[in-house]
């Protein structure tokens, strides 16, 4: 009796053939000479220019919408949709002169009225916009309203002088009034009508956004006819697509895959020192007054001593896959105080300073105990860095427990400042002005003053800046403030997060430090 069901075997083989062999018509997804493919890890959430909430959104909006001026990678601020600007004598009125002949992508003429509308729409409480423009730029400049002076001149009214006003106002995406006032918020979130070098073609959620070059846009030189912004959340998949030649630029290359990219012969990694300030905050808020270590950490001497306990360059080399220079404050290069030197790693000195501050080691080698909260999955290798810092502190007798939470949970705590007694965090910064970085601590109750730092001298000096017009004098105040920050540190100073971009070898493009992917100027080699 035969037990060999040969037909079943054939059926099985046929199935395998169907599954594995037939589709070997495979991958025809390679980029052509007119198409640039960029892969981001996160999709956009919506397409309203007044509601930009994430870097992945701003990267795409940057190409669809123009701004009055443009902030360059080197910190320069250059004319864009506006050709010139002037500030009133009291510093509270910023008047911009638009270029002639501007249009939005639906053909509507872009005039001063449209520029004014872009600000008014973002500021309108009825629209309840969150994100960079409504949530940061407008409050930071003390926005009061707009005035249309004539067809090409628009004035932005503020309640105080801000020497960084030009840069801040340059972050607002300009759009046309007629098209946007005709749409509901829901419609505007799906139908972008831009004013920049590329126009919107389609958005397939969680898959890609396609943009097409605007012929005749003369304010910026563009090369590629089409930009495709793909969404590839998994880092290994992004790297594989880059090496396969299907993608031209990817962000967030994991340090352990840098070698694989560089060895591929198809692409290479650009490592740039980013502008995101990574630090450990000391919590001064009273919510934590009963937490272990809180009292000790209120003392300046203790906080200074702890700076010597952390070997930042080793953390960078071992956990971030790159060399880095330790930060001396909250301001990015080259705008920091040149007289300040990074705290060196000197655990012996840390111990001596802690002894002097009244926290000698007990019989078990413990000075005091505390907790370091930190996120997982937000910053480069964040959870491991948090654990390393906890170990360094424990090594000098400050026994530190690392309390690591998933980012989704952790960020719910940072907003209401419910993190402490120590917490790990990153804060985006810029290269164009020290005050932009320092604006995190613009007031004791500022939303971004996560530590609730109350140093009176700092905030007095900050407020004095509103009366200063002279750049040299302003620089002196800035340097003084950075000294105050250095000597009474609310942060355990760490590093500026390095960013790793994977770039196809066919492309001539340089990544920026501020995490913004500006790629309209990319060219084929």
């Amino acid at each position: 009796m035969s037990r060999n069901p040969s037909r079943l075997g054939k059926l099985f083989l046929l199935t395998l053939l169907l599954v594995l062999i037939v589709p070997v018509i495979a991958n025809a997804q390679t980029s052509d000479e007119n198409t640039l493919v960029i892969a981001q890890s996160v999709d956009i959430g919506q397409l309203d220019p007044a509601s930009v909430n994430s870097r992945s959104e701003s990267n795409i909006f940057y190409h669809m919408y123009g701004t009055l001026f443009e902030i360059g990678d080197d910190g320069s601020i250059t004319p864009y949709l506006a050709s010139a600007y002037k500030v009133s004598e009291d510093g509270k009125e910023w008047t911009f002169t638009l270029n002639e002949g501007l249009t939005c992508h639906d053909g509507e003429a872009l005039t001063a009225e449209d520029a004014a509308y872009s600000f008014e729409r973002a500021a309108d409480p009825a629209n309840a916009f969150t994100g960079n423009t409504a949530g940061f730029v407008l409050p930071a400049v003390g926005y009061l309203g707009t005035r249309v002076d004539d067809e090409l001149n628009v004035t932005i009214l503020t309640d105080r002088y801000q020497s960084i006003g030009l840069g801040l106002l340059s972050e607002v995406y300009i759009h046309c009034k007629d098209s946007y006032s005709a749409m509901t918020l829901e419609e505007a979130a799906q139908n972008p009508i831009g004013s920049g070098p590329y126009k919107f073609v389609e958005w397939v959620p969680d898959d890609h956004v396609t943009l097409a070059k605007i012929d005749g846009f003369t304010l910026r030189e563009t090369t590629f006819a089409t930009q495709i912004w793909r969404v590839i959340p998994e880092a290994s998949t992004r790297v594989a697509e880059l090496i396969a030649g299907n993608v031209d630029v990817i962000g967030n290359v994991p340090p352990d895959q840098v070698e694989a990219v560089n060895g591929s012969g198809v692409a290479s990694v650009q490592a740039v020192q980013g502008t995101r300030r990574i630090y450990v905050g000391f919590q001064f808020g009273e919510n934590f007054k009963d937490a272990p270590g809180y009292d000790a950490l209120q003392k300046t001497d203790v906080r200074v001593a702890l700076q010597y306990a952390i070997d930042v360059p080793t953390i960078c080399a071992a956990l971030l896959g790159t060399e880095c220079t330790r930060a001396t404050g909250l301001v990015n290069d080259p705008n920091g105080n040149p007289n300040l030197q990074p705290y060196p790693y000197d655990p012996v000195k840390a111990g001596e300073l802690l002894d002097a501050a009244g926290y000698p080691k007990d019989a078990n080698g413990v000075r005091f105990e505390t907790t370091l909260m930190g996120p997982r999955g937000r910053y480069l290798n964040d959870a491991n860095v948090v654990q390393a810092i906890a170990q360094y502190l424990t090594d000098v007798g400050v026994v530190t427990t690392a309390d690591i939470r998933d980012w989704a949970d952790y960020r719910q705590l940072t907003g209401p400042k419910e993190v402490g007694p120590m917490f790990f965090l990153g804060s985006g910064g810029g290269t164009w002005n020290a005050l932009y970085d320092m604006a995190d601590l613009s007031a004791p109750d500022a939303g971004t003053n996560y530590t609730n730092w109350q140093n009176e001298e700092w905030f007095t000096l900050w407020n004095s800046l509103a009366d200063i017009r002279d750049a040299g004098q302003e620089r002196e105040v800035i340097n003084k403030m950075l000294e105050v920050f250095y000597n009474d540190p609310p942060w355990l100073l760490l590093y500026f997060q390095p960013d790793f971009y994977g770039v196809s070898n066919r492309l001539d493009w340089q990544a920026r430090r501020d995490e913004q992917i500006v790629i309209y100027n990319a060219k084929l080699k």
């Binding site: 060999n4 099985f12 599954v19 018509i25 495979a26 590839i232 998994e234 989704a408």
Partner: protein, 325 residues
């Protein structure tokens, strides 16, 4: 049959009510959900106005009935992030997820049945041992690891299949663009294979073992011995007499299978950049976009319960003993 269907329908309704209750309560787990809808800098007046506008100032029972009433109209609120109706966001992505889960079911069933039968027929041979070893291996591999390995080997090194992405078919069919949908099928399959294997391998392995054990049981039955003694060919004995009866437990598993595969898409869609509901849920959880999470849970639950109801009814039709119990 009628009373059985009514009974199962009633059970399903209760399960759906339970799911909606749990789903409704998720938005209240973190305290006052109003704070999810306002910016960090919102004033007290703005917070109170938003609370009143969204009905969060009303008693929980009233809010729940309002939630159910919305659900009946297909309205589960607006996404906090994208300002789009949450149900619309789920329905936009559902076709891609269905393509993936259905294709995974197809692969796992088409492959599992023949290898399960071969393994049973060749019981105790190296072939049987090899198949069962591979099946055990298939049940042990974590999906995300398998996905990445497939990408690196089949996608990147061999270049047989695209690494990630999606070509729509069902979505185009729903839009009435049948021509484009049909022409997309060959390319869509190339994109489907790796993610479908990733989520389907566990089911494939389990089903292969199930078919094998079921076949072994049936092959030892008297009527199979009788069939053989009548001189019927082995092919006829296996296919016509044994296999049909061995298939019953496999059919039962298919309903549950769908739910299992749906739960697997959360990771697989992320690894393969598949624009389905799994990724939508992952992102919504990360961004605390609770209305989207609620809508996804309700849609998944209704799908799962509906499919199981159909399977139960078919099963009862095939095997009358079920509805008599």
């Amino acid at each position: 049959m009628g009373p059985y269907i009514v009974q199962r329908l009633l059970q399903s309704v209760f399960v759906i009510i339970g799911v909606t209750l749990l789903s409704f309560l998720t938005i209240h787990l973190d305290g006052d959900p109003t704070y999810l809808y306002v910016s960090e800098r919102a004033s007290q007046e703005e917070i109170e106005a938003t609370r009143a506008k969204l009905g969060f100032d009303k008693p929980l029972t009233e809010q729940y009935f309002s939630f159910i009433s919305g659900l009946m109209r297909g309205d589960l609120g607006m996404s906090i992030r994208s300002r789009q109706p949450a149900v619309d966001l789920v329905m936009q992505r559902l076709p891609a997820t269905l393509e993936l889960t259905l294709f995974a079911m197809l692969i796992s069933t088409l492959v599992a049945i023949p290898i399960g039968i071969i393994s049973a027929v060749r019981r105790g041979t190296p072939t049987d041992g090899g198949i069962m070893l591979v099946a055990m291996f298939g049940q042990s591999i974590p999906g995300f690891w398998l996905g990445i390995m497939l990408i690196l080997s089949v996608g990147l090194q061999l270049k047989w299949l695209p690494i990630s992405g999606h070509v729509p078919v069902i979505d185009l069919m729903l839009q009435g663009d049948w021509g484009q949908a049909l022409s997309n099928i060959p390319k869509a399959i190339t994109f489907l294979i790796m993610p479908a294997i990733t989520i389907g391998l566990f089911s494939l392995s389990r089903n292969a073992r199930l078919v094998r054990s079921s076949m072994l049981e049936v092959l030892s039955q008297d009527y199979v011995v009788t069939a053989r003694s009548k001189g019927l060919s082995e092919r006829v004995v296996i296919i016509k007499h044994a296999f049909r009866n061995a298939l019953i437990p496999v059919v039962t598993m298919l309903g549950l299978e769908f739910g299992f595969l749906l739960s697997g898409v959360v990771v697989t869609e992320t690894v393969f950049s598949w624009p389905g509901v799994g990724r939508l849920v992952t992102n919504a959880i990360t961004q605390r976009d609770i209305p989207v999470v609620q809508a996804s849970v309700v849609v998944f639950a209704v799908l799962f319960i509906g499919l199981n109801l159909i399977v139960d009814i078919i099963y009862a039709q095939l095997d009358p003993r079920i509805r008599l119990r």
